[in-house]
Symmetry: C2
Subunit: 123 residues, 2 copies
């Protein structure tokens, strides 16, 4: 079944709460995750909420990575959306899970853009 | 069932192909979609691929919206990730579907951050 995009939705619970509110650490981690999976980084945007919590997005040539954190619950949502075969998004999953110190995590994979193969020529 | 985030994954097929490659139109549309659902816009990043295709992300105080387009297939993937009750992400879905001229679309809703209610105090 051919698809244009591979979308990994990562639920990270029981994380290191301090790390979840450290914008510099999260920025470095998300950029490292993008590089490690072989992606080409095109842009980024990070934001610190008051009183706590961070949103960060890295746009890559192969789509994007994002993270939203809730330090008060030790929880982060992270997505890795990629297209093409040149990247290994699972590497980013490993790095994010490890660096955020998550002791309880799960992942859903969704294929995006499953088109009619005759129409798209993807088959 | 309480969750921290509401994540709408929108599959837009049979779209207007010219619109899918118009970065200015897509930027205006995604920003309008964010405003119309009541979100507070914090940042944005749009990128035009060669030979075609666009990625765009708008960070909002309530999380984010993104769009990735494949004009050659008339297809776009769009996500609206929000937290809190002050926004109406379904409004953004209506605007994106209409403005991109999608004649064949579907949506999946995923609740993010469903935590142990005793631990989180969310219950």
């Amino acid at each position: 079944m051919n698809a244009l995009g591979k979308h990994l939705l990562l639920e990270l619970q029981d994380c290191d709460k301090e790390v979840l509110n450290d914008i510099s650490f999260l920025r470095n981690t998300l950029l490292a995750a993008a590089r490690e999976c072989g992606a080409t980084i095109l842009g980024e945007s990070f934001h610190q909420y008051s009183p706590q919590g961070i949103s960060g997005i890295v746009i890559i040539a192969e789509s994007h990575l994002f993270i939203h954190t809730w330090p008060e619950y030790g929880y982060a949502a992270a997505d890795i959306f990629t297209c093409g075969d040149s990247v290994q998004p699972e590497r980013a999953v490993e790095i994010l899970t490890r660096e955020l110190g998550s002791k309880n995590h799960s992942m859903v994979e969704i294929r995006r853009g499953i088109l009619d193969t005759q129409q798209s020529g993807l088959g």
